[in-house]
Amino acid sequence: MSEMQHRIIVIGAGAAGMETAGQLAKAGCSVTLVEKEEKTGGNVRSWYHLFPDHRDSGEVIGYLDSMISKENIDLLTGTVVEGLEKDQGRFVLRTGDGRELEADAVVISTGFDLFRSERKEEYGYGIYDNVISSANLELMFRKGEVLRHDGEIPRRIGLVHCVGSRDEKVGNPYCSKLCCVTAVKQAMELRKKISNARIYCFYMDMRMGGALYEELYRESQEQYGINYIRGKVSEVAENIDTRLIVKVEDTLAGRPLRMELDMLVLMAGMEMSEGGSMLARKAGLKTGENRFFATADHHFGSNKSEINGIFYAGTCTMPMNITETISHARAAVADVLDYLNTIGA
Protein backbone atom coordinates (compact mmCIF):
# COMPACT_ATOMS: atom_id res chain seq x y z
CA MET A 1 0.00 0.00 0.00
CA SER A 2 1.22 3.52 -0.76
CA GLU A 3 2.36 5.96 1.94
CA MET A 4 -0.75 8.08 1.48
CA GLN A 5 -3.58 6.73 3.61
CA HIS A 6 -6.60 5.66 1.68
CA ARG A 7 -9.90 7.14 2.73
CA ILE A 8 -12.92 4.85 2.83
CA ILE A 9 -16.49 5.68 3.75
CA VAL A 10 -18.62 2.94 5.32
CA ILE A 11 -22.37 3.64 5.33
CA GLY A 12 -24.26 2.02 8.21
CA ALA A 13 -22.83 1.03 11.59
CA GLY A 14 -24.55 -2.26 12.25
CA ALA A 15 -22.67 -5.56 12.49
CA ALA A 16 -21.51 -5.42 8.84
CA GLY A 17 -20.42 -1.78 8.87
CA MET A 18 -18.62 -2.01 12.19
CA GLU A 19 -16.73 -5.14 11.15
CA THR A 20 -15.86 -3.60 7.76
CA ALA A 21 -14.66 -0.35 9.34
CA GLY A 22 -12.59 -2.19 11.93
CA GLN A 23 -10.91 -4.48 9.41
CA LEU A 24 -10.20 -1.61 6.99
CA ALA A 25 -8.69 0.40 9.84
CA LYS A 26 -6.51 -2.59 10.75
CA ALA A 27 -5.31 -2.66 7.15
CA GLY A 28 -4.21 0.96 7.51
CA CYS A 29 -7.06 2.81 5.83
CA SER A 30 -8.61 5.96 7.18
CA VAL A 31 -12.28 5.16 7.68
CA THR A 32 -15.34 7.34 8.11
CA LEU A 33 -18.24 5.33 9.49
CA VAL A 34 -21.59 7.02 8.89
CA GLU A 35 -24.67 6.00 10.89
CA LYS A 36 -28.14 7.56 10.75
CA GLU A 37 -29.08 6.51 14.29
CA GLU A 38 -27.51 7.98 17.41
CA LYS A 39 -26.19 4.58 18.44
CA THR A 40 -24.17 1.96 16.61
CA GLY A 41 -25.00 -1.75 16.57
CA GLY A 42 -28.04 -1.74 14.28
CA ASN A 43 -30.49 -4.60 14.56
CA VAL A 44 -28.26 -6.67 16.85
CA ARG A 45 -29.01 -4.19 19.62
CA SER A 46 -32.70 -5.06 19.69
CA TRP A 47 -32.03 -8.77 20.18
CA TYR A 48 -31.51 -10.26 23.64
CA HIS A 49 -30.10 -13.75 23.15
CA LEU A 50 -28.80 -15.13 19.88
CA PHE A 51 -29.21 -18.48 18.18
CA PRO A 52 -27.88 -21.14 18.10
CA ASP A 53 -26.04 -20.92 21.44
CA HIS A 54 -28.26 -18.46 23.41
CA ARG A 55 -25.33 -16.09 23.70
CA ASP A 56 -26.08 -12.62 25.04
CA SER A 57 -26.15 -10.17 22.13
CA GLY A 58 -24.18 -7.80 24.37
CA GLU A 59 -21.10 -9.93 23.75
CA VAL A 60 -21.38 -9.38 20.01
CA ILE A 61 -21.99 -5.66 20.56
CA GLY A 62 -18.92 -5.57 22.79
CA TYR A 63 -16.82 -7.19 20.08
CA LEU A 64 -18.14 -4.79 17.42
CA ASP A 65 -17.51 -1.78 19.66
CA SER A 66 -13.93 -2.92 20.14
CA MET A 67 -13.57 -3.20 16.35
CA ILE A 68 -14.42 0.46 15.81
CA SER A 69 -12.57 1.99 18.74
CA LYS A 70 -9.53 2.70 16.62
CA GLU A 71 -7.75 5.96 15.97
CA ASN A 72 -8.21 5.90 12.23
CA ILE A 73 -11.99 5.44 12.40
CA ASP A 74 -14.07 8.58 12.42
CA LEU A 75 -17.59 7.73 13.58
CA LEU A 76 -20.41 10.06 12.52
CA THR A 77 -23.65 9.05 14.22
CA GLY A 78 -26.95 10.80 13.64
CA THR A 79 -25.84 11.41 10.08
CA VAL A 80 -28.04 10.76 7.08
CA VAL A 81 -26.64 10.29 3.58
CA GLU A 82 -28.15 12.75 1.11
CA GLY A 83 -26.17 11.86 -1.98
CA LEU A 84 -23.33 9.74 -3.28
CA GLU A 85 -21.50 10.50 -6.51
CA LYS A 86 -18.41 9.32 -8.30
CA ASP A 87 -16.30 12.14 -9.66
CA GLN A 88 -13.05 11.45 -11.53
CA GLY A 89 -12.40 8.20 -9.73
CA ARG A 90 -13.18 9.56 -6.27
CA PHE A 91 -16.40 9.50 -4.30
CA VAL A 92 -18.23 12.43 -2.80
CA LEU A 93 -20.83 11.77 -0.13
CA ARG A 94 -23.16 14.55 0.96
CA THR A 95 -24.64 14.33 4.43
CA GLY A 96 -27.98 15.64 5.68
CA ASP A 97 -26.24 18.36 7.66
CA GLY A 98 -24.58 19.70 4.52
CA ARG A 99 -21.12 18.22 4.80
CA GLU A 100 -19.22 16.73 1.87
CA LEU A 101 -16.99 13.77 2.56
CA GLU A 102 -14.48 12.47 0.03
CA ALA A 103 -13.24 8.92 -0.32
CA ASP A 104 -11.35 6.52 -2.57
CA ALA A 105 -13.96 3.82 -2.07
CA VAL A 106 -17.33 3.31 -0.38
CA VAL A 107 -18.77 0.31 1.43
CA ILE A 108 -22.54 0.20 1.83
CA SER A 109 -23.73 -1.73 4.87
CA THR A 110 -27.21 -0.33 5.36
CA GLY A 111 -28.59 -3.63 6.66
CA PHE A 112 -32.22 -4.69 6.86
CA ASP A 113 -35.51 -3.60 8.41
CA LEU A 114 -37.80 -6.08 10.09
CA PHE A 115 -41.06 -6.63 8.22
CA ARG A 116 -43.75 -4.41 9.74
CA SER A 117 -46.20 -7.04 10.89
CA GLU A 118 -49.24 -4.75 10.73
CA ARG A 119 -49.00 -5.12 6.95
CA LYS A 120 -50.18 -8.72 7.41
CA GLU A 121 -53.50 -7.42 8.66
CA GLU A 122 -55.21 -10.78 9.02
CA TYR A 123 -52.80 -11.67 11.85
CA GLY A 124 -54.07 -8.75 13.92
CA TYR A 125 -50.79 -7.09 14.85
CA GLY A 126 -51.61 -3.60 16.07
CA ILE A 127 -55.27 -4.64 16.36
CA TYR A 128 -55.17 -7.28 19.12
CA ASP A 129 -52.99 -6.45 22.13
CA ASN A 130 -51.64 -9.95 22.57
CA VAL A 131 -50.35 -10.37 19.04
CA ILE A 132 -46.71 -9.31 19.21
CA SER A 133 -43.67 -9.54 16.93
CA SER A 134 -40.46 -11.48 17.46
CA ALA A 135 -38.69 -8.17 18.16
CA ASN A 136 -41.29 -7.23 20.80
CA LEU A 137 -40.65 -10.58 22.48
CA GLU A 138 -36.89 -9.97 22.59
CA LEU A 139 -37.62 -6.71 24.36
CA MET A 140 -39.75 -8.60 26.91
CA PHE A 141 -36.95 -11.11 27.42
CA ARG A 142 -34.53 -8.26 28.06
CA LYS A 143 -36.92 -6.67 30.57
CA GLY A 144 -37.12 -10.04 32.25
CA GLU A 145 -40.87 -10.57 32.05
CA VAL A 146 -43.14 -12.00 29.41
CA LEU A 147 -46.67 -10.87 30.11
CA ARG A 148 -49.95 -10.45 28.30
CA HIS A 149 -51.35 -6.98 27.90
CA ASP A 150 -53.57 -7.54 30.97
CA GLY A 151 -50.52 -8.46 33.08
CA GLU A 152 -51.25 -12.19 33.13
CA ILE A 153 -48.57 -14.75 32.43
CA PRO A 154 -49.36 -16.40 29.06
CA ARG A 155 -49.73 -20.19 29.34
CA ARG A 156 -50.49 -21.01 25.73
CA ILE A 157 -48.31 -19.30 23.20
CA GLY A 158 -48.21 -19.62 19.42
CA LEU A 159 -45.33 -18.66 17.16
CA VAL A 160 -46.13 -17.98 13.51
CA HIS A 161 -43.35 -18.57 10.99
CA CYS A 162 -43.01 -16.76 7.64
CA VAL A 163 -44.64 -13.43 8.54
CA GLY A 164 -43.65 -11.20 5.65
CA SER A 165 -41.55 -13.94 4.06
CA ARG A 166 -42.46 -16.40 1.30
CA ASP A 167 -45.60 -14.38 0.82
CA GLU A 168 -46.52 -12.81 -2.48
CA LYS A 169 -49.46 -11.04 -0.90
CA VAL A 170 -47.04 -8.69 0.89
CA GLY A 171 -44.61 -8.58 -2.03
CA ASN A 172 -41.91 -10.69 -0.37
CA PRO A 173 -41.64 -14.00 -2.23
CA TYR A 174 -38.24 -14.83 -0.70
CA CYS A 175 -37.36 -16.78 2.44
CA SER A 176 -35.81 -14.65 5.20
CA LYS A 177 -33.95 -17.75 6.30
CA LEU A 178 -33.53 -16.81 9.98
CA CYS A 179 -37.08 -16.67 11.26
CA CYS A 180 -37.45 -20.46 11.59
CA VAL A 181 -34.44 -20.75 13.87
CA THR A 182 -35.48 -17.58 15.70
CA ALA A 183 -38.84 -19.22 16.40
CA VAL A 184 -37.12 -22.33 17.74
CA LYS A 185 -34.84 -20.23 19.93
CA GLN A 186 -37.65 -18.03 21.21
CA ALA A 187 -39.89 -21.04 21.86
CA MET A 188 -37.17 -22.55 24.06
CA GLU A 189 -36.63 -19.27 25.90
CA LEU A 190 -40.36 -18.92 26.49
CA ARG A 191 -40.47 -22.40 27.95
CA LYS A 192 -37.50 -21.61 30.19
CA LYS A 193 -39.21 -18.47 31.42
CA ILE A 194 -42.69 -19.98 31.85
CA SER A 195 -42.12 -23.58 32.84
CA ASN A 196 -45.70 -24.81 32.38
CA ALA A 197 -46.35 -22.95 29.13
CA ARG A 198 -47.54 -24.85 26.09
CA ILE A 199 -45.84 -23.58 23.00
CA TYR A 200 -46.85 -24.16 19.39
CA CYS A 201 -44.89 -23.26 16.26
CA PHE A 202 -46.91 -22.92 13.06
CA TYR A 203 -44.60 -23.54 10.13
CA MET A 204 -44.71 -24.31 6.41
CA ASP A 205 -41.23 -25.84 6.23
CA MET A 206 -38.63 -25.94 8.98
CA ARG A 207 -35.64 -24.35 7.30
CA MET A 208 -32.82 -25.36 9.57
CA GLY A 209 -29.97 -24.79 7.14
CA GLY A 210 -27.41 -23.15 9.41
CA ALA A 211 -24.73 -24.52 11.69
CA LEU A 212 -26.34 -26.18 14.74
CA TYR A 213 -29.88 -25.16 13.73
CA GLU A 214 -31.14 -28.72 13.30
CA GLU A 215 -29.62 -29.67 16.65
CA LEU A 216 -31.44 -26.75 18.25
CA TYR A 217 -34.71 -27.87 16.64
CA ARG A 218 -34.29 -31.36 18.02
CA GLU A 219 -33.35 -30.04 21.46
CA SER A 220 -36.48 -27.88 21.45
CA GLN A 221 -38.58 -31.02 20.95
CA GLU A 222 -36.66 -33.31 23.30
CA GLN A 223 -35.83 -31.01 26.18
CA TYR A 224 -38.46 -28.29 25.92
CA GLY A 225 -41.51 -30.06 24.56
CA ILE A 226 -42.15 -27.51 21.86
CA ASN A 227 -45.03 -28.52 19.55
CA TYR A 228 -44.78 -28.09 15.81
CA ILE A 229 -47.86 -27.84 13.63
CA ARG A 230 -47.45 -27.82 9.87
CA GLY A 231 -49.70 -25.19 8.36
CA LYS A 232 -49.70 -21.52 7.56
CA VAL A 233 -51.98 -19.51 9.81
CA SER A 234 -54.64 -17.96 7.62
CA GLU A 235 -56.28 -15.63 10.11
CA VAL A 236 -56.44 -14.64 13.75
CA ALA A 237 -59.44 -13.41 15.74
CA GLU A 238 -59.93 -12.37 19.35
CA ASN A 239 -62.72 -13.64 21.59
CA ILE A 240 -64.49 -11.79 24.38
CA ASP A 241 -61.86 -12.93 26.93
CA THR A 242 -59.14 -11.44 24.74
CA ARG A 243 -57.82 -14.91 23.90
CA LEU A 244 -56.66 -15.33 20.34
CA ILE A 245 -58.32 -17.78 18.00
CA VAL A 246 -55.99 -19.10 15.36
CA LYS A 247 -57.23 -20.65 12.14
CA VAL A 248 -54.86 -23.02 10.41
CA GLU A 249 -55.00 -26.27 8.50
CA ASP A 250 -53.06 -29.04 10.17
CA THR A 251 -51.79 -30.13 6.78
CA LEU A 252 -50.30 -33.37 8.08
CA ALA A 253 -53.53 -34.44 9.71
CA GLY A 254 -55.41 -33.05 6.69
CA ARG A 255 -57.98 -31.17 8.76
CA PRO A 256 -58.59 -27.56 9.72
CA LEU A 257 -57.52 -26.79 13.27
CA ARG A 258 -58.74 -24.19 15.75
CA MET A 259 -56.77 -23.20 18.77
CA GLU A 260 -57.17 -20.68 21.55
CA LEU A 261 -54.01 -18.93 22.67
CA ASP A 262 -52.98 -16.37 25.29
CA MET A 263 -50.33 -14.82 23.12
CA LEU A 264 -49.20 -14.99 19.51
CA VAL A 265 -45.69 -14.09 18.35
CA LEU A 266 -45.15 -13.23 14.68
CA MET A 267 -41.76 -14.14 13.21
CA ALA A 268 -41.18 -11.00 11.16
CA GLY A 269 -39.03 -11.44 8.07
CA MET A 270 -36.18 -9.29 6.80
CA GLU A 271 -36.56 -6.58 4.16
CA MET A 272 -34.23 -4.19 2.43
CA SER A 273 -33.94 -1.22 4.80
CA GLU A 274 -35.67 2.02 3.94
CA GLY A 275 -32.34 3.78 4.25
CA GLY A 276 -30.83 1.33 1.78
CA SER A 277 -33.65 1.81 -0.74
CA MET A 278 -33.24 5.58 -0.53
CA LEU A 279 -29.50 5.33 -1.01
CA ALA A 280 -30.02 3.05 -4.03
CA ARG A 281 -32.19 5.69 -5.67
CA LYS A 282 -29.87 8.57 -4.82
CA ALA A 283 -26.69 6.81 -5.92
CA GLY A 284 -28.25 5.10 -8.94
CA LEU A 285 -27.48 1.60 -7.66
CA LYS A 286 -29.41 -1.43 -8.88
CA THR A 287 -31.66 -3.42 -6.63
CA GLY A 288 -32.80 -6.97 -7.33
CA GLU A 289 -36.28 -8.42 -7.49
CA ASN A 290 -36.33 -8.82 -3.73
CA ARG A 291 -35.44 -5.13 -3.39
CA PHE A 292 -32.07 -5.79 -1.74
CA PHE A 293 -28.99 -4.35 -3.47
CA ALA A 294 -28.17 -6.35 -6.61
CA THR A 295 -24.60 -7.58 -6.44
CA ALA A 296 -22.31 -7.83 -9.47
CA ASP A 297 -22.17 -11.63 -9.43
CA HIS A 298 -24.01 -14.13 -7.32
CA HIS A 299 -21.02 -16.45 -6.87
CA PHE A 300 -17.88 -14.34 -6.95
CA GLY A 301 -19.01 -10.75 -6.82
CA SER A 302 -21.37 -10.71 -3.85
CA ASN A 303 -19.56 -7.69 -2.36
CA LYS A 304 -19.39 -5.68 -5.59
CA SER A 305 -21.87 -3.21 -6.99
CA GLU A 306 -22.08 -2.27 -10.66
CA ILE A 307 -20.13 0.90 -9.85
CA ASN A 308 -16.40 0.23 -9.54
CA GLY A 309 -15.35 1.34 -6.06
CA ILE A 310 -18.70 0.91 -4.33
CA PHE A 311 -18.97 -2.30 -2.32
CA TYR A 312 -21.61 -4.05 -0.22
CA ALA A 313 -21.37 -5.76 3.12
CA GLY A 314 -24.00 -7.74 5.00
CA THR A 315 -27.77 -7.85 4.94
CA CYS A 316 -28.25 -4.97 2.52
CA THR A 317 -27.74 -7.68 -0.14
CA MET A 318 -29.80 -10.56 1.31
CA PRO A 319 -30.94 -11.98 4.65
CA MET A 320 -27.93 -13.21 6.65
CA ASN A 321 -27.21 -14.25 10.20
CA ILE A 322 -24.51 -12.54 12.26
CA THR A 323 -21.82 -15.08 11.39
CA GLU A 324 -22.49 -14.68 7.68
CA THR A 325 -22.68 -10.90 8.03
CA ILE A 326 -19.26 -10.71 9.64
CA SER A 327 -17.75 -13.04 7.02
CA HIS A 328 -19.36 -10.99 4.25
CA ALA A 329 -17.95 -7.79 5.78
CA ARG A 330 -14.45 -9.28 5.84
CA ALA A 331 -14.84 -10.36 2.23
CA ALA A 332 -15.84 -6.80 1.34
CA VAL A 333 -12.59 -5.59 2.89
CA ALA A 334 -10.59 -7.97 0.66
CA ASP A 335 -12.39 -6.52 -2.40
CA VAL A 336 -11.78 -2.93 -1.25
CA LEU A 337 -8.04 -3.52 -0.71
CA ASP A 338 -7.78 -5.20 -4.11
CA TYR A 339 -9.56 -2.22 -5.70
CA LEU A 340 -7.23 0.27 -3.98
CA ASN A 341 -4.25 -1.63 -5.34
CA THR A 342 -5.58 -1.54 -8.91
CA ILE A 343 -6.36 2.19 -8.86
CA GLY A 344 -2.99 2.78 -7.17
CA ALA A 345 -4.26 5.96 -5.57
Binding site: D167, E168, K169, D205, S234, E235, E249, D250, T251, P256
Partner: protein
Amino acid sequence: MEKFGFTILKARHINYDANDKSVAEYIYEREPTFRVCIECGCCAATCTTGNFTSFSLREINILLKRGELDKVNENLKKCMLCGKCTLVCPRGVNTRNVITLAREALKNNFKDAV
Protein backbone atom coordinates in the same frame (compact mmCIF):
# COMPACT_ATOMS: atom_id res chain seq x y z
CA MET B 1 -62.18 -75.09 -1.62
CA GLU B 2 -61.74 -74.58 2.11
CA LYS B 3 -61.85 -70.91 3.13
CA PHE B 4 -59.44 -70.00 5.92
CA GLY B 5 -60.37 -66.35 6.11
CA PHE B 6 -57.23 -65.20 4.32
CA THR B 7 -57.48 -62.52 1.72
CA ILE B 8 -54.95 -60.74 -0.40
CA LEU B 9 -54.69 -57.08 0.56
CA LYS B 10 -54.58 -54.52 -2.16
CA ALA B 11 -51.41 -52.43 -2.08
CA ARG B 12 -51.90 -49.00 -0.56
CA HIS B 13 -49.41 -47.29 -2.85
CA ILE B 14 -50.30 -44.36 -4.95
CA ASN B 15 -49.78 -46.12 -8.26
CA TYR B 16 -48.06 -43.10 -9.69
CA ASP B 17 -47.15 -44.57 -13.07
CA ALA B 18 -50.61 -45.93 -13.75
CA ASN B 19 -52.56 -43.00 -12.34
CA ASP B 20 -54.18 -40.48 -14.65
CA LYS B 21 -52.42 -37.14 -14.40
CA SER B 22 -54.20 -35.67 -17.41
CA VAL B 23 -56.45 -33.48 -15.28
CA ALA B 24 -53.39 -31.92 -13.62
CA GLU B 25 -51.80 -31.44 -17.05
CA TYR B 26 -54.98 -29.79 -18.29
CA ILE B 27 -54.83 -27.32 -15.38
CA TYR B 28 -51.05 -26.71 -15.66
CA GLU B 29 -51.52 -25.63 -19.24
CA ARG B 30 -54.32 -23.18 -18.56
CA GLU B 31 -53.40 -22.01 -15.06
CA PRO B 32 -49.62 -22.22 -14.56
CA THR B 33 -49.84 -20.97 -10.95
CA PHE B 34 -51.26 -24.42 -10.13
CA ARG B 35 -47.64 -25.65 -10.13
CA VAL B 36 -46.37 -23.37 -7.39
CA CYS B 37 -48.52 -24.59 -4.48
CA ILE B 38 -46.39 -25.37 -1.41
CA GLU B 39 -49.13 -27.16 0.49
CA CYS B 40 -49.21 -24.62 3.32
CA GLY B 41 -52.90 -25.19 3.88
CA CYS B 42 -53.84 -21.53 4.15
CA CYS B 43 -56.63 -22.07 1.60
CA ALA B 44 -58.08 -24.98 3.55
CA ALA B 45 -57.83 -23.14 6.88
CA THR B 46 -59.84 -20.20 5.63
CA CYS B 47 -62.33 -22.23 3.58
CA THR B 48 -65.95 -22.05 4.72
CA THR B 49 -66.80 -25.35 3.05
CA GLY B 50 -63.79 -27.02 4.67
CA ASN B 51 -64.99 -26.00 8.12
CA PHE B 52 -68.06 -28.18 7.76
CA THR B 53 -67.21 -30.86 5.21
CA SER B 54 -64.16 -32.86 4.29
CA PHE B 55 -63.22 -30.38 1.58
CA SER B 56 -59.60 -29.24 1.43
CA LEU B 57 -58.29 -27.43 -1.61
CA ARG B 58 -54.75 -28.22 -0.50
CA GLU B 59 -55.61 -31.91 -0.52
CA ILE B 60 -57.34 -31.63 -3.89
CA ASN B 61 -54.23 -29.98 -5.27
CA ILE B 62 -51.98 -32.83 -4.27
CA LEU B 63 -54.47 -35.55 -5.27
CA LEU B 64 -54.82 -34.05 -8.75
CA LYS B 65 -51.05 -33.98 -9.10
CA ARG B 66 -50.82 -37.64 -8.04
CA GLY B 67 -53.71 -38.66 -10.25
CA GLU B 68 -55.89 -39.87 -7.37
CA LEU B 69 -59.03 -38.63 -9.03
CA ASP B 70 -61.82 -40.52 -7.27
CA LYS B 71 -61.72 -38.47 -4.09
CA VAL B 72 -61.26 -35.25 -6.04
CA ASN B 73 -64.36 -35.81 -8.09
CA GLU B 74 -66.39 -36.48 -4.98
CA ASN B 75 -65.22 -33.28 -3.31
CA LEU B 76 -64.98 -30.72 -6.08
CA LYS B 77 -68.69 -30.01 -6.22
CA LYS B 78 -68.63 -28.75 -2.63
CA CYS B 79 -66.68 -25.58 -3.47
CA MET B 80 -68.87 -22.46 -3.61
CA LEU B 81 -66.24 -20.42 -5.47
CA CYS B 82 -66.25 -17.71 -2.81
CA GLY B 83 -62.56 -17.00 -3.45
CA LYS B 84 -61.31 -16.60 0.13
CA CYS B 85 -58.58 -19.11 -0.66
CA THR B 86 -57.32 -16.89 -3.47
CA LEU B 87 -57.07 -13.98 -1.04
CA VAL B 88 -54.90 -15.83 1.47
CA CYS B 89 -52.67 -17.88 -0.85
CA PRO B 90 -49.05 -16.78 -0.21
CA ARG B 91 -47.91 -18.16 -3.58
CA GLY B 92 -50.44 -16.33 -5.68
CA VAL B 93 -52.17 -19.47 -6.95
CA ASN B 94 -55.36 -18.62 -8.78
CA THR B 95 -57.20 -21.20 -6.72
CA ARG B 96 -60.65 -20.45 -8.04
CA ASN B 97 -59.53 -21.02 -11.60
CA VAL B 98 -57.89 -24.29 -10.52
CA ILE B 99 -61.26 -25.51 -9.25
CA THR B 100 -63.09 -24.37 -12.36
CA LEU B 101 -60.56 -26.02 -14.64
CA ALA B 102 -60.56 -29.22 -12.60
CA ARG B 103 -64.35 -29.38 -12.91
CA GLU B 104 -64.08 -28.77 -16.63
CA ALA B 105 -61.45 -31.47 -17.14
CA LEU B 106 -63.28 -34.00 -15.00
CA LYS B 107 -66.51 -33.37 -16.85
CA ASN B 108 -64.82 -34.66 -19.97
CA ASN B 109 -63.36 -37.68 -18.17
CA PHE B 110 -66.11 -38.72 -15.83
CA LYS B 111 -69.74 -39.34 -16.58
CA ASP B 112 -70.84 -38.37 -13.09
CA ALA B 113 -68.69 -35.27 -12.88
CA VAL B 114 -70.06 -31.96 -11.67
